[in-house]
Symmetry: C2
Subunit: 367 residues, 2 copies
């Protein structure tokens, strides 16, 4: 069993869950973001991935992570491997449960297997799935379900001395959660007390707690971010908040700004996928340059503070170069550093050396 | 019966509603924003305001608008004046139904009177109110209830030739809805086909339709704004979108940016309350100067567009000078014009002349 920096997620009764990931027809780098995050970081065992179109392969062959986890054809095969949970491992914009997932979900629920769902659509809102859950006495964990008692943001102050870091992005789905988790690990290697704050469904599945800020009533985005950040700052000296979306994304920018003002970071780390040229699903929108992105995030971070407040700096650039060859990746890292004047690294490709380089930038900025 | 620029709201069966406004203990300028908006603009008759602490006065004495509408002590007195609807006329941040309103709401529902509610908390989530509604066979209209089929924003294009104008603010509750409604009226006086797009509970009560963007799941703020804007642009050449919050408000900025990117305006009008010095409920946060606010909104409007897109200008300043004397008000208008180099007006204090001045700025910018 691997143990990620997020903490340990346990099922009812305290037994560690044994998770199968449902990614039918979509178990690939571009579409299985949740699956990849969980395979890389979750503190519980993943026993199989369900995707009939890739059955017989190894997870690592499909998405570059999860060596030794088999991809199987259907839910019964996953259950035969001891799965006690079926986690939906993909997340299309809009958050509907794909119709082709419903039979597999029904099969799991009917057999008493818990379903973990990170989509906006609730599993039990489908009468067929609700009936299956009743028949199988199965539970559903809605990862995006917000707490009932959210408040408007802007009123709570966090513990003095805690450093809050937000990972921000050139776009959606560029590696903001990954960067935050790798920074927590690197800071811990450096002897610091660091915590990860999950703000999205995958982070919540990994960490076992958090609030999906894109799923709260929009008046409460900042309040939700403020709550989880302030709570974490009570216990840790470094609070790494998982970013969401991008200020330059026409669909998600509101969530991004609410999160930015709600968590009120001291420092930011800019995340970018080196193969991304345009906003995801918006070919008409080329991404901004690093220089523009730094200005945009640093400007916006100040808007909710008193005029004349010191600038909240972006202090490092975390790159995702997974799709590049070794040489192009090194060039992308060097170019990001040159364009921004900041330390840059791909904390996955470069391993601990990459994460440590980014963490040193945080430690230096906090001195 | 007055007829506002928003359109006519009718009850079931097509009969125009006769509305009593509930503002118990809070029927004052600072706290009764919804009541004031409805008294000024609603196309239906308001028969009374319920506030036992001000019973016996006239609405206009309390909030400067609603001459001839009596303030009464309780719901039965309002019903005796023929009310068929009880509208909650105040809105505290956070959106809970005040406990002191619950007896009045129960009294109305029990007698078969419909309740219109613009708060986040739903009336029927209170078991006592649900029971009263069942006993009285009364209906509840949740003004903030979003449609069930919202989408991620950024994909729909509006009709070419339609001009979209967003009212943006130096803060929350400074007069953005009022400015939008007055601009619709002024553009109509100028012979233009103009429509009001409601994005908040008061605007929806007035216009009879719209989406409360602060009440949607936050992933869908931009999509909701895009839908109502594009729909309105099919029928009108000028689409005046009611702004929400402020990019500089620590609690509401996410809603503001999502709305800005979702409605994707061609032009903006900056709204400001001339007596406001700090962010509402945040004395530690002085408001930004006009110059800073113009830069902030014009910068942010471009983030979701291709790099190099032409600037989206703020073309006029709409002031709320209600709390100033005549001379101070004139000075505030002159100062706003001088500081920004833009036409400025208080469209309420100055009447049609003020609204027309602002509308001319829109017409000139669109030429």
């Amino acid at each position: 069993m691997t143990r990620g920096p997020g903490g340990v997620s346990r099922g009812p009764g305290g037994r560690a869950p044994r998770v199968a990931i449902l990614a039918e027809g979509q178990f690939a780098r571009a579409t299985a973001k949740t699956a990849i995050g969980v395979l890389r970081y979750a503190p519980f065992e993943v026993v199989a991935v369900v995707d009939s179109t890739r059955a017989g392969t190894d997870a690592a062959e499909c998405v570059g992570v999860g060596m030794g986890v088999p991809v199987v054809a259907d839910v019964p095969t996953a259950l035969a491997r001891g799965a006690t949970v079926l986690l939906i491992g993909t997340a299309a914009a809009g958050g509907r449960i794909p119709d082709e997932y419903r039979p597999a979900l029904a099969a799991a629920l009917e057999r008493g297997v818990a379903v973990w769902n990170g989509l906006h659509e609730r599993v039990l809102s489908d009468p067929a799935l609700a009936a299956a859950a009743t028949r199988g006495r199965a539970t559903v964990r809605e990862l995006r379900e917000p707490p009932a008692d959210l408040e408007i943001g802007g009123h709570r102050r966090r513990r003095t001395g805690a450093h809050v870091v937000l990972t921000v992005g050139s776009d959606a789905a560029v590696g903001k959660m990954t960067a935050a988790l790798e920074l927590v690990a690197a800071l811990r290697r450096a002897g610091e007390c660091a915590a990860f704050v999950a703000t999205g469904q995958t982070g919540i599945a990994i960490a076992g707690s958090g609030i999906a800020v894109d799923a709260v009533v929009s008046d409460f985005i900042a309040g939700a971010a403020e709550r989880i950040t302030c709570d974490a700052a009570e216990k840790a000296d470094w609070v790494l908040v998982e970013g969401q979306g991008s200020l330059t994304h026409p669909g998600f920018s509101g969530v991004t700004l609410g999160l930015l003002h709600g968590c009120a970071p001291d420092l930011m780390v800019l995340c970018h996928d080196s193969t991304r040229a345009a906003v995801k699903a918006h070919d008409e929108l080329p991404l901004r340059t690093f220089g523009e992105l730094l200005r945009i995030y640093e400007d916006a971070a100040l808007w909710s503070r008193p005029p004349g407040s010191p600038r909240i700096p972006v202090v490092a650039v975390a790159l995702n170069t997974a799709a590049l060859d070794e040489r192009s990746a090194a060039r992308a890292v060097a170019q990001a550093a040159a364009e921004t004047g900041l330390p840059a690294a791909d904390p996955i490709r470069e391993g601990a050396a990459g994460g440590d380089r980014l963490a040193r930038a945080l430690l230096a900025a906090a001195r």
